[in-house]
């Protein structure tokens, strides 16, 4: 399991990479491992406004289903359409090709974010 530095993590096992006024969302390696083989990702609509902590996507495995919560507030500007045909990318590359959505950050609303070290400690607990 990997936990890259330079991106932030939430207690619900999402990650966020902030670059300027945009942010990229995904689920962590730990989350994809716990879910097992991902079979479907329900992506948000482009243009949708999401609040921090709001469920913006759904990730499904064969026997489990999980809402994915937005770490920050913003407007969805891009979604990873490749996941529609290849949801397994979330399993194989959770922090790269398995990203879910990009948002334009609006305001400073956010859920509690952790660094990689803090998330590692959180998982150990």
């Amino acid at each position: 399991m990997t936990i890259p530095a330079k991106i932030k993590y939430t207690k619900d096992h999402e990650w966020v990479r902030i670059e300027g006024d945009t942010a990229t969302f995904g689920i962590t390696d730990h989350a994809q491992e716990a879910l097992g083989d991902i079979v479907f990702v329900e992506l948000p609509e482009i243009g949708r406004e999401v609040n921090a902590g709001e469920a913006y996507a759904v990730v499904e495995s064969v026997k489990a289903v999980s809402d994915v919560y937005a770490p920050l507030a913003g407007e969805v500007i891009e979604v990873n359409e490749a996941l529609e045909g290849e949801p397994e990318k979330v399993n194989s590359d959770a922090y790269g090709a398995g990203w879910i959505a990009k948002i334009k950050i609006t305001g400073d609303e956010s859920v509690e974010l952790m660094t990689d070290d803090e998330y590692t400690t959180f998982l150990e607990e």
């Binding site: 329900e42 495995s61 064969v62």
Partner: protein, 452 residues
Amino acid sequence: MRFLPHTDTDRSAMLEKIGVSAMSDLFADIPAEFHLDEGSLNIADALSEAGIVRKFTRAAEKNRNATNTRYFLGGGTYNHFVPAVVDYIISRGEFLTAYTPYQPEISQGTLQALFEFQTMIARLTGMDVSNASMYEAATATAEAALMARRVTRKNRVVMAGSVNPRYRSVTANYLSRLDGEFVEVDMAGSGTTFGTDLDKLIAAIDEKTACVIVQYPDFYGSVYDLSPLRAACDAAKCLMVVAFSDVSAFALIESPGAMGADIAVGSGQPLGIPMGFGGPHLGLFTCKQKYLRQMPGRVCGLTSDADGKRGFVLTLSTREQHIRREKATSNICTNQGLMCTAAATYMTLMGDAGLATVARHSAAALQSLVSQLPDHVTAASGARFNETVLSFVDQEARDAFLAAAKAGDIFAGIPLEQIDSAAEPRHLLVATTEMVETDDINDYLAILEVTK
């Protein structure tokens, strides 16, 4: 007791192994105040097998049935022919007594039959995908409305007043406890006689509308072009839901899919399932591929096993209640599985040609009847499949005819107000199937003549 294998000796030996002394000890965790005395319930004395057969036979003999009476009854339940093979196949213990195929390795028979069923239903209705059943048509219609709300994230449902009143009232009931609006568009007095007024329906659509529900052929048997509605739904970005009560129609007339339906639901009872006083029947649920993940109910999908051999499994189960619980697409669990196997067997026996014959004979019988009606009875105008409304001068005339027909071993129709409480009590809902012979129509017409 013949269904219980244990003797008292077995029971004693087993109790001893468990380490208790009496059967009642097994129930010691139930507070004593709730224990019943043996034999204290007010239930009939036990019957032998012969006694059960005698009792049921006597009860059955009190009911007039399709082996001794000619049926012109429809309204959602139809007296189509049921081939012997269908009942034989669903009587086989391996189909009849199997559980839901959650263990696919030892349930491939049920699963392949479901896959074949889904395929044939999708083809017959002209839709992309089918689930593996709902209870019956009215609840299937309600589920279609709920699905359209999920797909569109809108919550206004518009329904034509020419949909079977039972589908309407069940759908209204299902929606009444949820946020949103349910609009029924009255089809009476609109210039259309016992049919569907699409202009009036289209006028009721707005941008908040999740779906429009029509029946095709409608409750009164009317067949009409749905393309204006399709265009209106596209403009309002809402779904077109098509309900139907006799799926055999689509072997003869254009399917809901060809008419542009997003969701098509209805009754599969005509596919080899006896009327059975209303059940068990078969609810059909089909939709476009892109809405698949919002579809309620179980579905069977193609896959392969550990050796690479083709096989089938229940799939997309994360939509269902046992996984998604309060967020499930529906609460449905037990469905009409065996009736899917019945319908699959029936369609296999029939093929395109047989299904078309069933539909053509059903429609031809209606045409024969309607074209020979005496002057004092009028039939609703326009294209009708196998069902129409006959109007009499008054209730007395209609009821006199019904009584005479009944005395002549004909159930001549359903008084319309019996299902459609808003209807005047002088109309008769009449349906025909391939079980209606020319002689039956002649007898029907002769009784009409004498009760003029």
